[in-house]
Amino acid sequence: MNFSTSSIRSKIWLCVLIALIGFLVATMSSFYANIKQYQNLSQLQKEYYPLASLGLQLMNTLELQTEGYEDAFMIGEQSLAVEANEIKGKILALIDNILNFVRNSSSCPLREKDIMAIRQEYLTFATLAEKIYSHPGIENLSRDKQKEIRELGLMQGALMQGFKSISDQLDNSLIGQIEKTKKKSLSTMVLLGSLFITAFLLVGLIVDRVASRLLVTPLSRIRDNIKRFSLGQNTIQPPAIEDSDEIGHLAMAFWEMTEDLKITTVSKRYVDNIIRNMSGALIVLKPDMTIQTVSQQTVELFSYTEEELLGLHMDVLFSHGDDDEISADKIASIVVDGAVKTLEATCRTREGHVFPAHFSGSSMYNEAGELQGIICVFNDITELKNAEKKLTEMAHYDTLTGLANRNLFFQSLDHAILDAKRHNRILALLYLDLDKFKPINDRWSHDIGDLVLQEIGKRLEELTRADDTVARMGGDEFIVLLNSLNEAGDAERIAEKIIGKIAEPIQINKYSHILGVSVGISIFPANGDSMEDLIVQADMAMYQAKKNGGSCLFNAKNLNYS
């Protein structure tokens, strides 16, 4: 079967051939059955039908003869009797015909013996009849003569019965033969019918098997491979093929294609995997700025479900803060410029939570150069922002007390001096140095010392206005910038307040710590119009106050430069 069944053409031909063989078998058997039928009918026509008519003929002829005798007897016409006598030969010939058939036929129900007997009977009758009716004598029949005639009548009746029986038997034989033929043709019909059905089913089954083996199985192997391919699974190498096997070639070509594609392209699954696992939130926009595709990261970042996001205008993701670098125009410009990189944007989640993000976008074109969409990537920069803020704080604020550090203070002072010069206002610098702080540090610990410094910072902030700046200059030194004083004397009053407030005991862990502070005051513009001068003056004044015993103030205007 394998010699030429590899091409589709030969496979189909094979199926057709099987069907044709089935058809041929059915036709041949029906042909054979018809010939048989023809033979049976021919036999009926040639043998049985003439025979049946022979029986009838026999009866009719005897009737003719007896009618002749009857007429002769009734009217006494001798010539009629002579005519009737002549019929004898005809009847004997008919009987001999039947006898011949009976001798030659195996299936005839008649027995030769019976026919011979009835032939003899007829001969007796005919001889007697010839004798009696030749001289019928119409009148004065003697009683003996009457008896003879009566005997003859009875014999004639018996003969008629015998002939009728022969005729009936021949009729029955014909009918039986017809019945037999009918039955035979019926059973042939049934046989043929079942043969047809069987052949039909068998051919159907074989064709189905063959088609399944030769066509369906190889095709379903290809289909399976296509399914695998569509699911991103590895395809299975098809079995070796013959040159003429088109399906095999197709399977092989497809498999080779998948193998080639494996090398030259990446599967969607692979890309999806990349997208799913990339750190940034990926959003692909349609040209009309509605969301077409999102990555898992996007869903998590914005707290939307994927279904909710798809089709939304991407504007809903932005909070549009004042200092945002992103705007609708900016996004639209991506289309023109091709790409934007790491723009800072304020984004808003589904719940309204706002967070900073870096936005990058680039437009995507197909081979024909038409805009297909915009690929956007969001990176949450909350952490970055926090770190940035912390850095800034570290640069301008004292980490322990949260007060401004020297750097910020110098900036503020610089600003304030410029401001005061412009508006002719008075500024004051209070330079503070804690008294009796070192013993606390020594006696307790630096932790306690730190807590004390924080408390001091807090008290200083409470005592000053928002305009004023309190800064820690390092160690236990602080500086206070009093902005826009009405008069220089205000500075001393605030300094007094500070001294008083600092002197109040500081409660830490059940222990009270008592400190003092020495304050040096310098006034702008009275003690200098530069930052450096003012600080130096205040510092010097503070030293004077310390010299004076601490917990007091000293005004730079009283410094003796001698």
Binding site: E70, F73, Q146, I149, R150, G153, L154, Q156, G157
Partner: protein, 142 residues
């Protein structure tokens, strides 16, 4: 054959006319010891056509055809609705077919009565004027 039939028929017609004219009638007679006194017209017909062959007691009926011209044609016409030749042919056909032999034939009323005397089962008919005590008259009822 036709000629002779015509002759016979015309002869019989003439005879009947003569009989009726002379007021002669037939009477059905049998042996004195015959168990039957009367018969229906239909029974008579059946008996003389050979279809009823036994008396009610089981003894056979022997019919005697009286060919006395005075009564024979009258009887066959009246009882059997046949001409004498039809009647004769009827019986010849019976004989021919072997069913029966011909009935006894007598020439005169005297012969009939003498035959009846000797045969107890016999049945015949004679001119009513010749009826005497040697035989028994059977009444024909409808």
């Amino acid at each position: 054959m036709q000629k002779s039939t015509v002759l016979i028929v015309s002869f019989l017609l003439l005879l009947t006319t003569c009989l009726v004219a002379s007021g002669k009638e037939y009477v059905l007679v049998c042996h004195k010891e015959c168990p039957v006194d009367q018969l229906t017209h239909r029974e008579v017909e059946r008996i003389f056509l050979g279809k009823m062959r036994k008396w009610p007691d089981g003894s056979g009926i022997e019919i005697v055809v009286n060919s006395n011209e005075e009564v024979h044609a009258l009887f066959t016409r009246d009882m059997l609705n046949k001409s004498p030749s039809q009647f004769s042919n009827y019986w010849r056909r019976i004989l021919f077919s072997g069913k029966n032999i011909l009935p006894v034939n007598v020439k005169s009323d005297v012969d009939a009565q003498s035959y009846l005397l000797e045969h107890t089962n016999a049945l015949s008919y004679i001119n009513v004027t010749n009826l005497n005590s040697t035989v028994k008259k059977i009444l024909v009822v409808e």
